[in-house]
């Protein structure tokens, strides 16, 4: 039972991160590998806000997430927009996002240094609850709650608002959307904002959860995020959420049974198996292989 809680907790962060990936993939058909840099920088932003500027976490959280969203729009403008219309934009988009991720990481490394940083004592509540013979910390509960709330908000936004409709239109058929008068570039920028806000929030929550913020935290999660979206089905939001929780649970149980050195292997093993056996993942569209 304890493991289930830990798994759900870890999974909620993975799910949040993966949703960001999926949102952009659904709209642009491109994988944004700079997502993990936003993940990392957002965590640091919050750290600076709370640690150096003594802003309360309640305020720091939305500020950091906002910063993440804005950074995401920068990523779009710099790395993806100039490539629109190019025939090989999938691969070159991938490469340019890798490039931008490297740049952002370098900036992070220069400004914050390579060491692991921690949130100042007292940032997060320290209380525990008992559920049967399992223990769940207040922090874990809050994080799960926030993650679920953000997912719900995203779903609402996509299904019920005008922006959401426009995003879905562009995701379905950008040319038709443009003909119908939708400001495609603007919608894409908005998608990046949302996606990076989610990714940034995930980073912030991750940093809080493990009280561990460092410039290479993005790398580790990036690859797991890929495993999650592949498992869930590229472009499927419910798939990403489901797979996020699934991976969290899988990882926690693997560590419990086999030891922590195999923690990361789980993600890649899953990734591989899915790509080879069922590339569309759990909830993805059917045609993914070539004719």
């Amino acid at each position: 039972m304890q493991q289930v809680i830990n798994g759900l907790f870890l999974g909620s962060i993975y799910a949040l991160f993966a949703l960001g990936y999926t949102l952009v993939f659904g709209v642009l058909d491109i994988l944004n590998l700079a997502h993990q840099a936003v993940f990392m920088l957002c965590a640091f932003t919050a750290l600076v806000l709370v640690g150096n500027l003594h802003v309360h976490m309640l305020l720091a959280f939305p500020l950091a997430v906002l910063a993440g969203g804005l950074l995401g729009m920068v990523v779009d403008r710099v790395a993806f927009r100039p490539l629109r219309g190019r025939s090989d934009s999938n691969i070159s988009g991938l490469i340019s996002s890798i490039a931008l991720a490297t740049i952002l990481e370098a900036i992070g490394l220069q400004v914050f240094g390579p060491d692991v940083e921690r949130f100042p004592f007292g940032t997060v509540p320290d209380r525990y609850l008992k559920l049967g013979d399992a223990v769940i910390s207040e922090l874990q509960l809050v994080i799960i709650a926030i993650a679920l709330a953000m997912m719900a908000a995203l779903t609402f936004l996509l299904k019920r608002t005008r922006l959401g409709r426009r995003i879905r239109a562009v995701a379905e058929n950008p040319l038709a959307a443009r003909i119908l008068g939708v400001n495609v570039d603007g919608v894409i920028a908005a998608s990046f904002f949302l996606s990076s806000a989610l990714g940034g929030a995930a980073g912030l929550l991750f940093g809080l959860a493990f009280n561990n913020v460092s410039t290479d935290m993005g790398r580790a999660v990036e690859l797991k995020g890929l495993a999650v979206i592949v498992l869930g089905g590229m472009g499927s939001m419910p798939g990403a959420a489901l797979a996020g929780f699934a991976l969290g649970l899988l990882e926690v149980f693997t560590v419990a049974k086999l030891g922590s050195s195999y923690r990361d292997a789980v993600a890649f093993g899953v990734l591989f198996l899915v790509l080879v056996l069922r590339p569309r993942g759990l909830l993805g569209p059917a045609a993914l292989r070539e004719a």
Binding site: L31, V78, D88, I91, L94, I103, A106, F272
Partner: protein, 299 residues
């Protein structure tokens, strides 16, 4: 300049020269798959397989270095086959992800393998590699790629890169060609891995992380993946750059580590956005910009 001074100069820059050669070989291994339109990011894994195989052979057998190198080249090539068969059927992005995943699996395998000291790796590997060997390997690889270009195979690869489905309707067995290129790239990477291990005295999983792959990608993209010697230019340029920066960095108050990373990323970004065919296309671009007309060479 006195002979002594020249010798000193050589000793100082010897390792840079060696690494330009090694990185060039790695860049060529990325190029082989890019040449038929596939983005494979598993090269670090193939390099790791070559590096570890060679270290194990050196420590546990008395085989001559040439044989060690041959086996170290063969092992990743063989592994590439069962990897490629399912994975090469995947479209662009999915192939990249699958190969990234494979790379991580291999790295984690070595981190957990006690026979090779897990994360610490093996040290005190005797230095059996010389600069001549590196450049010989590089020259041989360049030769192979040069001869493939312009042949029926070379044209088939280009066709696959431009439009795979159309290529197949002309009788080109795309799957076989893509697999061959993956295997060839694995061979190059394995050879480079073995040579590197016997130059740097050690082999450890940390050498083969995803950042290594990004480096290789940068060489190939920056140099240009449309001409076979492009990646070599990229490797040379990007291996020399940190040396230059190492002198420059402290003078402008920036730490060398992040600076190198930044420049890597910045160069890659600028190239992919403005010079997508790489540095080697610069002369053509300048000519076009100046308005001169010249019949285009088929790349």
């Amino acid at each position: 300049m006195s002979l002594e001074a020249l010798n000193d100069l050589w000793l100082t820059y010897q390792s840079t020269v060696a690494f330009i050669g090694l990185n060039g070989l790695l860049a060529l291994s990325v190029y082989t798959t890019l040449s038929c339109g596939q983005l494979s990011l598993a090269q670090a894994a193939f390099m790791a397989l070559g590096g570890y195989t060679s270290a194990i052979l050196t420590f546990h057998t008395g085989l001559p270095f040439a044989v060690v190198l041959a086996v170290a080249t063969l092992v990743p090539s063989l592994v590439a086959v069962p990897l490629g068969l399912p994975v090469l059927r995947l479209k662009g992005v999915f192939l990249a992800i699958a190969t990234i995943g494979f790379g991580e699996v291999v790295r984690i395998f070595f981190v957990n393998w006690d026979f090779t000291n897990g994360a610490l790796g093996l040290t005190a590997v005797p230095q059996r590699t010389t600069i001549w060997m590196i450049y010989l390997a590089l020259a041989a690889s360049l030769f192979v790629l040069w001869r493939i270009r312009g042949s029926r195979t070379g044209y088939a690869l280009e066709a696959i890169r431009e439009d795979e489905a159309a290529a197949r309707t002309m009788g080109i067995h795309a799957a076989a060609y893509k697999l061959s290129m993956l295997v060839l790239g694995a061979a190059f990477a394995g050879l480079a891995g073995a040579l590197e291990v016997h130059y740097t005295f050690m082999v450890a999983p940390s050498t083969y992380s995803f950042s290594r792959v990004v480096d290789m990608l940068v060489y190939a993209v920056v140099g240009g993946s449309f001409l076979f010697y492009g990646p070599l230019v990229g490797a040379g340029f990007l291996t020399l750059l940190p040396e230059v920066l190492r002198e420059l960095g402290p003078r402008i108050g920036l730490a060398p580590g992040p600076l190198r990373l930044f420049v890597n990323g910045a160069v890659l970004l600028v190239v992919i956005l403005f010079l997508p065919r790489g540095l080697v296309s610069l002369p053509d671009r300048i000519r076009a910009w100046r308005g001169e007309r010249r019949p285009p060479r088929a790349p």
